[in-house]
Every structure is written in C-alpha cells, then in structure tokens.
Subunit: 280 residues, 2 copies
C-alpha cells in the first residue's frame, strides 16, 4: 500500500518504520512543513520521498496525519477536500475538536479518528523508534461516522503496529486522557518549573536529585509544539482534572500544616492502591 | 567490624547486603520491632542474628539506624544514652529535627547524621537490593558536631557502598530534599488519588494509562510508614515547596482557561530545560 505520512516527528517516524519493516507500506510519502525534519526523515530512510501535501494525497491509499493537534484541525478539512477513495486517519491526543472540524464534511466517512497511546518524551524524526506501539492501546473514536472500509484499513494498520484497539466516543476519549495522560504532563511541567525556580537561590540542588525526582519530571522534557495545543483543545476536561488535582494537594497541605500524621498516613495507603491498578 | 542495623527494611536490608558482600561487616546484628520483618531478614540471610536493641548496641562498633524518621527521633537519644565508644549513624530523609533531638547529648560526638539518597518505591526486607547505593549521593550533616573518628568510620562505610559523599548543614539538607524529593512524592500521591477518584465514574480508565502516567505516579507506591513522618518533620520546607508548586499549577491553569497558547508554549519550553540539568 502507498502511504502518506503528514508530520515526520516521533509518532509519524515510528509509524513509518514499523509499517515499512512489516511490509504494510510499499512506498511512504513524507510531508512536513519543517524542512529540516523532512530532510532528516529522508536521510534516516524513514520515508522514501518528500512530497507536497497535494502529491502525498494523490499518490496514496492511506493518509496518516501525525502533526500537533492544532495543525491537524487546520489540515484535516483540506485533506478531505482533496481525497477521492483514500482513507485518512489522525493520531492526535485530543479528539472532540478534531471530530467537530469535519463533522459535516462530505468526505467524513473517509476519515477515522484515532489515538495510539504511545510515545516518549523526545521528539523529531531522530526520536522515531521501531516497535514503539507494540502491546500498547490505540483508541478509535466515533467509528459509526466512518465507512466500514476505512475503519477496516485503519484497524489493519494498528494490527500491524501490534496495538490493542479500543473504540469509544470522542467525548469519552477526551475525558479519559485528561486524567491518565494530560494531567500527568501538567504536574510534571509544574514540578520542573518549581524546582528550577528554587535553583536560583540554592545552587547545585540538582546534584541531589534522585531517581524519584527524575521519574516525576521525565514528562517535563516533552515537546511544547505538541503539548500546548493539546491543553488548549482539551481545556474543559483538563481544567476539571487540574482542579481536582489541586484540591488533593490542598488536602495534603492541610494534613502537613496541622501535623495530622494519621490522616496523611491513611491517604498514602489509599494512594498505594495504584500498585494493584497498574499491575492489571 | 561488628555492625548493628536498627530497622530491617529496604534501606537497612540493602546496606546489610553490600556491607557483608564487600567484607566491611563481619557480623551483622539486626534489630526490628516488626517481628515479621525481623524473621524474614534472618531467613533471607540479610542479618546474622536478631537481637534486642541493647544487645545490638553492646556488641557492635557501628550502629546504623534505618527506621522511619519518627522512630529515629525517639530511639536515637536512647541509643546514645547507652553507647561507650561506638559510632552511631542514621539514614533518615530529614535532618533538622533528628539533629535537634540530640543537640545537647553528652555522646553527641559519637553520632553522624547522614542521608543516603537512594531507594525504590518498594519496602520491607524482601525489597533489599545489592548495589542500591552505587554512584548515588549521600549527605552528611553538621559533621563539625561529630568526632573525627566517627565521621571517618561513616565515610568509610559510604565508600564501601560506593556513594559520593556531600557535606552540608542539616538546615540546608532539609530545604534541598523538600524540592528534589519530598515534593515529587506529594505530587505523585495526589495524582494517584485524583485519578483513582475519577475511576469511580469512568470505569476502565486505567486500561488507557500510558508509560507517562506510570512514570509520574510511580512514587505513589511508596511506604506510608516512611513518608508520613517525613512530611511532618520537614513541614516548614515542604509547605513552602508545595505552595510554590500549587502557584505554578495555578499559572498553567490560567493559560489553559484563557487559551493563552503562546504563554503555555513558553513555560513548556522553559520546563524543558530540565533535560540539560538532569543530564549533568
């Protein structure tokens, strides 16, 4: 199958590697407005050819959008304007606004909204990894709005990527990821900023940083181009999650301030339940 | 050297393993008020013998306290009451209150306050690991209050554990760890609690949890017995750090609420600087 990948970063690049190695893709057309990224993706043989968006659309059976979600919203209607029988899918971390942007498009059925839940804190084509998606979950949203054929092609692609496919509404998706992904990133960005602020007064504080600190700030290395638009698009759910999170912090703060050790002990025991949950 | 280890959990057990394997310890006396832990430490051959605190003190040249910090405060003066020429060290994550508890003790010079900055989110003697401390940093506090001989013995022990030794005041230690360790744990406990609350309404939300989420909540698996007293003892610094952290979250919240994408973009770029810092 000929495939066009729009956006040759960590996700687009990793998809390209697996689809080629596993013979799902014959020829991969790469499209990126960042000419540096495009050049590097070609050098790394992630794509066969760098082309314009128009050429990518015209020459492919499957068009994969792997751009930041603000770019997806502006580019998706344009792509659907130009497809005939091709299937289009996106890989964005938000779904409601993307779905909204093509709700009444006459080619709506050619589009399958998806979100492969995999990644690292690194970005760009040089961060692309073979096998990144293996045994992870991908979400297809509002599939009843897509043609059976388009859904079938996208499901086949995710089979090749060895992902577990889950279906849900875009609305439900956005609530879920606010809690299990977006709020983690916000907590990590804020933690990095807090500790870097204090560093101005306390030199060498990071010499003492332990593995625990590294684990909680790992996500603070994540791409601003990717994450700023995610928070804007999923603002409603992210704000609810963030308010709940701040409420929890305020609760812990009171226990510390008032030296209520037994209540602190109890909430830690409660939070320990995350062990069992994550092992499932 | 004969050594007594008071508290046979993750830290005490891991110290015992390395000190024995590397021939620093000839005989290790284990003391633990938790008889289950004591029994298991003996079964796992982490210690040679389970003894009373009194026996441990009388038969050893070096006494290592590896209990939760609230237990350390109550046990340390009692141990110093009973030592002759022995050296005593603790491994607690707080220092000011522990130092305060023996400030005017007549055997103060036998005590060296220390904090090896290593650990995992697991606890108990079965979590003990060989090599846990290797290439990590340990902090010795207020060493001018200890005898040269005691400092020399404790430094030798940390050489055997292959740790980098840093000296600072107890006050400075407590500020530093509030930022690079304690606040990370609070953010993680609060995140776990937030997501578990929403789980009651959104079934199966954890099926979608990605590696990023696991990384930020990893510390929420940590021991309540260990962490509740740490937050209580270091409350002043932890509260300052926590207030700064909540302020950062409020700032990010405003950017999201008011759709100020360029400011959000800028703070993410700023937080990305953590990459360079952690690679040093």
């Amino acid at each position: 199958m000929n495939i066009a990948i729009i956006g040759l970063g960590l996700i687009g690049g990793s998809v390209a590697k697996d689809l080629r190695e596993r013979k799902f893709a014959n020829h991969i057309y790469g499209v990126d407005i960042n000419t540096e990224n495009a050049k590097m993706a070609l050098q790394l043989k992630i794509v066969d050819e760098i082309v314009t968006l128009e050429q990518g659309i015209n020459n492919s059976e499957l068009i994969i959008i792997a751009t930041p979600v603000d770019a997806t919203i502006s580019i998706l209607p344009e792509i659907l304007d130009n497809v005939k029988a091709q299937t289009v899918t996106d890989m964005g971390s938000t779904k409601e606004q993307i779905l909204e942007s093509v709700k009444f498009h006459q080619k709506r059925k050619n589009f399958v909204a998806s979100h492969p839940m995999a990644g690292t804190e690194f970005s760009g084509p040089s961060a692309a990894l073979s096998g990144l998606f293996e045994n992870k979950t991908t979400i297809l949203c509002d599939v009843e709005e897509s043609s059976e054929e388009a859904v079938s092609i996208v499901r086949k692609m995710y089979d090749v990527l060895k992902m577990n496919v889950v279906e849900m509404s875009g609305t439900s998706h956005d609530v879920h990821v606010a809690y299990v992904s977006h709020i983690s990133h916000i907590s990590s960005f804020a933690l990095a900023l807090t500790v870097m602020d204090i560093e101005e007064d306390e030199k060498n504080i990071f010499n003492l940083a332990s593995g625990g600190f590294e684990s909680t700030v790992r996500l603070a290395k994540s791409s601003a181009d990717m994450w700023a638009p995610i928070f804007m698009q999923n603002s409603k759910n992210v704000l609810t999650a963030l308010n709940n999170y701040i409420d929890k912090l305020q609760e812990l703060k009171i226990y510390i301030k008032e030296q209520r050790i037994s209540e602190m002990h109890n909430v830690i025991i409660k939070s320990n339940r995350i062990k069992e949950i994550l092992n499932n």
